[in-house]
Structures are given as C-alpha cells and as structure tokens.
C-alpha cells in the first residue's frame, strides 16, 4: 500500500510539467477578459492564471507574502513602478525587446518605467481621470470649469470616484497646484475644496457603483471619471460623455513587467510583448472590464473606426497636452493624503 502511495505521489510529481505550462499574472481587471488572454494561451499552449488586485499597496503586499517564482507578470500603476523596483519585485527587461518606438511618445514614460538607467516595465494602457457626465442632464459648457461643480448648481448630482490620488490631483489642479507640486504644505490647502466637493456630492463610489449611478441617472456627473467609465456604457447609454476642464485633468497609465524571481522569465516577457503588440493592445484597450487608450499607437491599425471614435483617438494629442500625471507621494505624504481622504469619507 505504501509502495502504491509512493508511486502515486511520484506520478503526480512527474506530471508537474503541466505546472510549468502555466503563467501566473497579478493584474487589473481589464486583463481578465478572455478575449485578451485566449489568443496568447492558444499560440503558446500555456494557461495564464490571472489574479486581480486593486491598489498598489494590495499588489505589493501580495508579492511580499509570496515565494519567489509564485508570480511571473505584474501589472501596476505606471507611477508606482519605482516602488515595485525598490521592493525588489520587478526584473530588468532588455529595452530592445520592447516596441516602445511605436508608442505615443508621452506614453514611453521612461522616467517611471526605468530606474537607475534600467528598464523594469513598459506602459500598456492609459486614459484620463477627469469629469464624466450625462450630456442630456447637465450643460456641457459647465463641465469645462471645475468651479461649477461646487457652485451649488449640481449639488447632490455628483459621484466622486473613490480613489484619493486622482481626485486629490484634480482638486489640486482646480486650485492651480500642479500634481507634482503637491506637498505636505500644499495638501493642507486642498482640504477645504475637497470637503466642499464632498458636500456637493451624492456619493463616493468604486468603479462599478459609480458606473451604475451614472448609467441609472442616480447622479449626472462623476469626478475622476473618463473614457474608462463611459466607453463600456457607450452602446447602451450614448449620452454619457467626458471632458477635460480648463484647469486640466489627470492621466492614468498602467505598466506591465516581469516579476523578479519568475521561473519562466522568457515566457513572462513573451506575455509582456504580446500585451504591448498592436493586437494585444487593441484587445486590452477594449476589454470588457474597462476601456482605455493603448500605449502603442500601432493599435490604431487594429481598432475599428467605431472603437477609435469611442476612445476619441483623434483628440489624444490635445488631451495629452492638458493632462498631468498622478501625484507620486513619498510615504509620509501618501499617509497624509489617505488620512485626509478617510476624513472626507466620514463627513
């Protein structure tokens, strides 16, 4: 009996080549669309296991609690690549393996994806945190000025996206403070306008709740929203639109890299290359979870004219000029920003 058990265990262990045919990726929800991953799986005969996470802190905590080799690919906020590198979570990538020459120049983001002259990640998708609205319910001209939001005209008709970095960034822009200039001192000046915005709002919600509220008419405006909120609802709700107000908006960007300690770095890099290829980019841009602009401009050859219209492809040059990156706070400022956000939620 013992011999039979040993043989069985041995058989299970020798069957482990099946395990080596799996790639483990820590991702955002847009990567979980089967239409994105299936072509890669079929081409390479590999299973891609995807685990979603929200928020850099949660992602880094998962990596810290994992064993080397548990994860192969990481998707992370582009502005937080440095944090992941600092924690030793990302492996270096040979720059000549990446198609960044085809990217929108602003989306190469070398200052974020490179640390100490070495490349650790590549931008894969971007978009804007700005003002999304129902153009049949509000005056679109009002949306061009952030001051209108707290003027009383739209009280109780606003949802705030529950993510402190972009919304505090927008509030800062509304006060004439560039996102890179947010410090402990300037942060203090944002408290009053942030709380005024909360007072004018009906709710502070995550992506799904905010989308639901906008789609059902519960609110007419979403602060922090953009194409990533309205695009997936476009077919059912063509009245939803978004704009970058005169004070500016924020550009979000997500990067993808190979996890340090991956036991299959070559296959992980293949996945990164697939995601940043024109085909992978077009699929990622139109993911069923949320849409966003592809970093690789060549994806424009793959996307349909209708998809490009929804993404407002032709207006990107103007949008990119008027959008700033997320704030990149150090640990102390990050804590102060989160404390202010938590206090706002409790108001």
């Amino acid at each position: 009996m013992a011999r039979f058990a040993s043989v069985s265990v041995l058989a299970l262990l020798t069957a482990s080549p099946a395990l080596s045919q799996e790639l483990n990726a820590l991702v955002w929800c847009d990567h979980t669309d089967p239409a994105l991953v299936q072509p890669f799986e079929e081409k390479h005969g590999i299973k891609v296991n995807l685990k979603e996470y929200e928020g850099t802190a949660a992602g880094l905590a998962i990596l810290e609690q994992s064993q080397p080799g548990d994860w192969d690919v990481l998707v992370i906020d582009a502005v937080d690549v440095g944090r992941a590198v600092e924690g030793g979570h990302l492996a270096e990538i040979a720059p000549d393996q990446l198609a960044t020459a085809d990217f929108f120049p602003e989306l190469v983001m070398a200052e974020n994806n490179m640390v100490g002259g070495k490349t650790y990640a590549v931008t894969e998708k971007f978009g804007y945190n700005t003002i999304a609205y129902d153009k049949t319910k509000v005056d679109p001209a009002d949306m061009a000025d952030m001051a209108t939001l707290t003027s009383g005209k739209y009280d109780g008709r606003i949802a705030i996206y529950d993510y402190y970095l972009p919304v505090l960034g927008l509030v800062a822009l509304g006060q004439g403070v560039a996102t890179k200039d947010i410090t402990a001192d300037t942060l203090a000046t944002l408290k009053d306008p942030l709380f005024k915005l909360k007072a004018a709002s009906k709710q502070v919600s995550d992506v799904v709740s905010a989308q639901t509220a906008l789609a059902t008419g519960e609110v007419d405006i979403m602060i922090g929203g953009g194409e990533w909120v309205t695009a997936v609802l476009a077919a059912d709700n063509p009245n939803l639109d978004w704009t970058i107000p005169k004070q500016g908006g924020l550009r979000w960007a997500q990067s993808i890299g190979v996890v340090a300690g991956s036991t299959q770095p070559d296959m992980a890099l293949e996945f990164v290359k697939y995601i940043t290829s024109p085909e992978g980019q077009a699929r990622l841009a139109t993911s069923s979870c949320y849409w966003g602009m592809p970093a690789n401009a060549k994806a424009g050859d793959v996307l349909t004219p209708e998809q490009k219209a929804i993404l407002r492809w032709d207006e990107q040059a103007e949008f990119l000029k008027r959008a700033q990156l997320y704030p990149i706070p150090d640990a102390a400022l990050d804590t102060a920003m989160q404390d202010m956000w938590t206090e706002m939620l409790q108001q």
Binding site: A58, T212, G217, A331
Partner: protein, 282 residues
C-alpha cells in the same frame, strides 16, 4: 485502565481534531494578528515592535471613533428592525400556515439566500435609486421621490432584507417546538391573547430570538460589502476602515488593531447575550 479513564481518553480523542483545527486556524492566526497590531509602519514597511500606538490612535482619532459608532448604530438598528419583522413572519409560518405548507413557506422565505450577496446588494441600488423601482412605484400614486440610495437607510434596508431571513429561521425553530398546551393553559386561566404572548410565548422563545439577534449583530458589524455598495461612501463603518488600511494603505498593524477592536465588541455582545444564548436552538 479504569472505564472512566478510557472514556475520558476517548472523549479527548474525539474532540482532538476540532481542537487542533481551532488552534491552527483560529487561535494561532488570532495571536499573530494581536502581535501584528502592536507593530509599527515605517516608510511603508511593517516594523516589529511593542507599540500601543495603533490602539491609542483608534481611541483618540475622531474618524476611527465615528466608524466604530456608525458600525454599532447601524447594526443595532438592523438587529431591532429585523427582529420586529422576523418574529411575526415566523409566527405566521408556525401557527397560521398548515403544517404541510410550512416547508414551502420557509423555502420562499429563504429564496433570496440563493442569490449572490454582492449581486443582491447591487440589485438594491437599482430598487432604491432615484429612478428605481421604489420611486417609480411611489410616483404612480403621486408620492416621492425618496432619496434612499447611497445613504444609511439603503445600508439598513440591504442588511434587513438579508437578516430577516436568518432570524425567521431561528425564531421559527423555537416557535415550532412550543407545545400548544402552554397557550391553552394560559387561556384557560383567563389570559387574553396579548397576555399569552407576553407572558408565555415570548419568554419561551426568547433564547431563539436572542440567538438570532446575536448572529445578526455579529454578521452585521463585520460586514464590508453592504455598507460599501449601498452606503455610497457617505460614512465609514469599522470593516470599511479595516479594508482601507489593507487594500489602500498596506497598514497591516492598524488593520489588525481595528480587527482586534471589532472582535472585542463582538465578545462584549456575546457576554451581554450569554444569559439567553442557546446555540442549539439555531
């Protein structure tokens, strides 16, 4: 070896798996969480320490105290409303519906359990919204609209919907065990219907009510999903605060301290109800 010693050993042998399981998967993790609650955060990293700072912060920071207060208020409101709704429903099923239909009635009562908790919460958003089913119905009779979605009222509604089902089951289990002779004897002695209920039926079913209420309290005060989806981010409860520390700040020590406080509240609730708790009645 005496028979008594052998029985004792057999008893310990039978409970050993449960004890080991509890020690490995509850006691040890709990002790780990308590230890972590005294650690410190420095530059986004957890530093082992014996620092009561997290507890001091919880007890002095108005935002955290308010979260605790919100959790207690919401859970108490939900528990009271759920008991008031579940008791008559359970009584109707137990005393007014013929025995052969009671199973079907209970099945209908617990049908909402069959849907996902998250989906059910989002569904309530569609019901309670400004253009939702409730307001449209009220509009037909010239009333409303009510501003319920994204508020404490919405959170309470979502909770009550769930917990009325749970309480109905626990109270029904008690009511069905009551011999009708108690009520008959009281009536023979001159008690009216109200007196029969107040002095005979209610005291006898109190253990089931308290058990259900305690379960409602425990599940409600630790719930994150309902206030997160239905509350609209307009007030924070303790579980939401814990999730903010875990998912956003990566502040595991503070999250652990908040969780210990949550467990302390549940423990206090247990002692407050211990006199009446009869878990065998569930």
């Amino acid at each position: 070896m005496t028979l008594q010693t052998r029985d004792r050993r057999l008893g310990w042998g039978l409970v050993a798996p449960a004890l080991v399981w509890t020690a490995l998967f509850f006691v040890l993790p709990f002790l780990g969480m308590v230890a972590l609650s005294f650690a410190r955060m420095e530059e986004r990293a957890v530093v082992p320490a014996f620092d009561p700072g997290n507890y001091t912060r919880i007890l002095t920071d108005p935002v955290m105290l308010q979260a605790l207060l919100n959790s207690l208020q919401i859970t108490l409101i939900v528990t009271v409303i759920s008991v008031l709704l579940a008791y008559p429903l359970a009584a109707i099923i137990a005393f007014r519906i013929p025995r052969q239909w009671q199973r079907l009635a209970l099945l209908l009562a617990v049908l909402p359990f069959w849907t996902s908790y998250v989906v059910r919460s989002y569904s309530w958003l569609l019901v309670l919204g400004q253009n939702g089913v409730l307001n449209k119905t009220l509009g037909l009779v010239g009333l409303g609209p009510l501003e319920i979605a994204a508020s404490r009222a919405a959170t309470v509604t979502g909770f009550v919907h769930f917990f009325v089902m749970l309480l109905t089951l626990t109270i029904y289990a008690n009511l069905i065990q009551l011999s009708p002779n108690y009520a008959r004897a009281a009536a023979d002695l001159g008690a009216n219907r109200w007196q029969v209920f107040a002095h005979v039926i209610l005291p006898l079913t109190l253990p089931g009510v308290v058990t259900g209420a305690f379960l409602t309290f425990v599940l409600g005060i630790g719930d994150y999903i309902t206030p997160q989806i239905l509350g609209g981010g307009n007030e924070l409860t303790l579980p939401q605060l814990i999730m903010l520390q875990l998912g956003r700040s990566g502040n595991f020590p503070l999250a652990s301290a908040l969780s210990v406080v949550l467990m302390a509240v549940v423990t206090l609730a247990y002692f407050a109800c211990a006199k009446w708790l009869r878990l065998d009645r569930v």
